[in-house]
């Protein structure tokens, strides 16, 4: 999905390069090369970011990891979950993707599983809710 966004950003970049090329050959060439480099980097960064998302359902807790540049690993014990949120923004909906977010009593808990298919998200939510009830430990 992000790759699509990167692809979409080609258009304004190309326009800028063409505009500069009209002004002077050299500037246009430099801008063009820079744009291509940025695109290649962004393409691979998106790929790394995409691959970095992951989650494991363990016996007593859910482990979520994400981030290529800023790496994060979050562990949420099932007994601490206050609610499970299933969300999808307009662009995500267009690609048929859904996010599952876990909330605890702490506002700083940052546990989100992104880019699941709606069916997977639904079943994950149901499993988590069931596990949360079984392990419930109050505050």
């Amino acid at each position: 999905m992000r790759r699509a966004l990167v692809a979409a950003s080609v258009i304004p970049l190309a326009a800028v390069a063409l505009g500069l090329a009209a002004a002077s050959r050299l500037a246009g060439l430099i801008a063009g090369i820079a744009a291509v480099l940025v695109l290649v980097w962004a393409w691979s960064a998106v790929g790394r970011n995409f691959r970095s998302w992951g989650y494991v359902e363990r016996a007593d807790d859910l482990m979520v990891t994400h981030g290529a540049m800023f790496r994060k690993l979050t562990v949420v014990p099932y007994g601490r979950m206050q609610l499970v949120d299933v969300k999808a923004g307009p662009i995500e909906r267009a690609f048929g993707l859904v996010n599952v977010k876990l909330h605890t009593a702490a506002a700083t808990t940052d546990a989100q599983v992104r880019g699941l298919s709606p069916a997977d998200a639904g079943s994950l939510r149901d499993r988590l809710t069931a596990l949360g009830e079984a392990h419930s430990a109050g505050l």
């Binding site: 601490r80 605890t104 700083t108 808990t109």
Partner: protein, 455 residues
């Protein structure tokens, strides 16, 4: 909760329901400053002679009318609000056209406060504030009751919350800490002395520069800035002193009680086991005196009120604070917990202060320390840890470092073991997960050991 049943009396065979109403003087106390101002303007209008020789009728009518409106609104609020105690539940019904009914399960109560703002205290009234886990807005405020009624309601609520039973009398209490006036004033003044003093210096500097260059306007602005900052600082000092005056912490079977306030007073009660995390903080200017302050996370206090309501002790000796905190957390000896520093290469990311960072744990609590000039020790029991995180930014990853965060409910305590070796961070995380699981399994209530005595 809005939308739940609105009128509903006691169900058949259920425990008896007690119904109470707010005090009839409430509208005046609720009006507070605004009402006082309106009445004052009206009276002035009546007393003063206008151009026609009589009282200034337009002024009297407008402001008097507003005052009457405020009072009438207050009376309607009082008339349509009632609260009901039934078994382990508190229900509040209010609303004239749009009825609202809130139910609170008392075993979920995180803290019960009796507040006496000045405008209510004049009339011998008090507010009872019941905080539940969740947002600050979820707190229930009963404004206002007569003070004795408020106190017995608090005792009753706490009794029901602990499952002791209904109509329990006020539990006996034992004083743990009182903050002497001199020390409070000294500590507040010292805390204010810091970078704020630089702000204070801007004004005179401008004035001197302006004067020597013959710019009278610049000099004037400099003096104005000085006065402005001085007023701000005096106001801040006054607010803190007014809030923290006569600060007393007592221990009773229904929890820790915190009492304070000069003009407006407040009494908080935090039932046992409701403290989610604690920190001991030492501002730089307090170090010669060995003073520290103790703050806590309680679910439902929220972030906004955290600076004020989250204060457990505003100023106290360090040794005593450590013993007290250990006791509050159920007999933990903070001195026995070995803290380890980050590896030396962390100096790249935290140049000098990496030496001040440290973390360690025993089987009950996790302890993290940070701050080179102002020092802070964060303590969170394994049993209360909400979730765990490892985070590593680009610089940290290049150095092979990572930070471990222990998430707690919103409040001043944010525990983290900063800049650990990446491998160690992972081991730490796994061990914390294990400790948390063990602690949740055998939940032990805190505060069974006798409390330490002030020396």
């Amino acid at each position: 909760m809005p939308g739940s049943e609105v009128s509903g009396g006691p169900s058949d065979g259920g425990p008896p329901e007690e119904t109470f109403r707010l005090h009839p003087l409430t509208p005046i106390a609720l009006g507070g400053r605004v009402l006082g101002l309106l009445v004052a303007i009206t009276l002035l209008g009546l007393a003063e002679r206008g151009s026609s020789g009589g009282p200034r009728w337009p002024q009297v009518i407008v402001f008097g009318g507003l005052a009457v409106l405020v009072v009438v609104r207050g009376f309607i609020t009082v008339a349509v609000t009632s609260y009901h105690l039934m078994g382990g539940e508190l229900r509040i019904d209010n609303g004239l056209f749009q009825k609202q009914s809130k139910r609170i399960r008392l075993d979920r109560v995180q803290s019960v406060d009796v507040l006496e703002p000045l405008s209510a205290r004049i009339f011998g009234l008090a507010e009872v504030k019941v905080t539940t886990a969740g947002s600050e807005r979820a707190a229930v405020r009963l404004r206002y009751l007569a003070l004795p009624e408020a106190r017995s309601l608090r005792a009753d609520l706490l009794g029901r919350s602990a499952g002791v039973g209904e109509g329990s009398p006020e539990a006996p209490e034992r004083v743990l800490v009182t903050v002497p006036h001199g020390r409070l004033v000294g500590s507040v003044l010292l805390e204010m002395i810091s970078w704020r003093l630089l702000l204070l210096a801007i004004g005179p500097a401008l004035a001197v520069v302006g004067q020597s260059n013959g710019h009278r306007a610049t000099a004037g602005i400099g003096i104005a800035i000085f006065v402005w900052f001085a007023v701000l600082i005096v106001h801040a000092v006054w607010q803190r002193l007014n809030f923290l005056w006569e600060f007393t912490v007592t221990e009773s079977p229904d929890g820790l009680r915190v009492r304070h306030g000069l003009l407006s007073t407040s009494r908080q009660t935090v039932p046992p086991g409701r403290i989610q995390a604690i920190l001991i903080h030492q501002p730089m200017s307090w170090r010669p005196f060995g003073w520290v302050q103790v703050r806590m996370n309680v679910a439902g206090y929220g972030r906004r009120g955290s600076t004020k309501r989250a204060t457990l002790i505003p100023v106290i000796d360090r040794q005593f604070a450590e013993r007290l905190v250990g006791w509050v957390l159920g007999g933990v000896d903070l001195d026995d917990i070995p803290l380890t520093r980050p590896p030396r290469r962390a100096a790249v990311r935290a140049p000098l202060w990496w030496r001040a960072q440290g973390a360690g744990a025993d089987d009950r609590v996790f302890v993290a320390r940070h701050g080179l000039l102002s020092r802070t020790i964060d303590i969170v029991p394994h049993q209360r840890t909400q979730s765990l995180r490892i985070a590593a930014g680009p610089v940290q990853r290049a150095l092979g470092l990572a930070s471990v965060h222990l998430d707690s409910t919103p409040g001043p305590v944010k525990t983290r073991a900063a800049n650990r070796d990446a491998g160690e961070a992972r081991t730490l995380l796994d061990r914390q997960v294990e400790r948390g699981r063990a602690a949740r399994r055998m939940a032990t209530p805190g505060g069974q050991v006798p409390a330490p005595q002030a020396t």
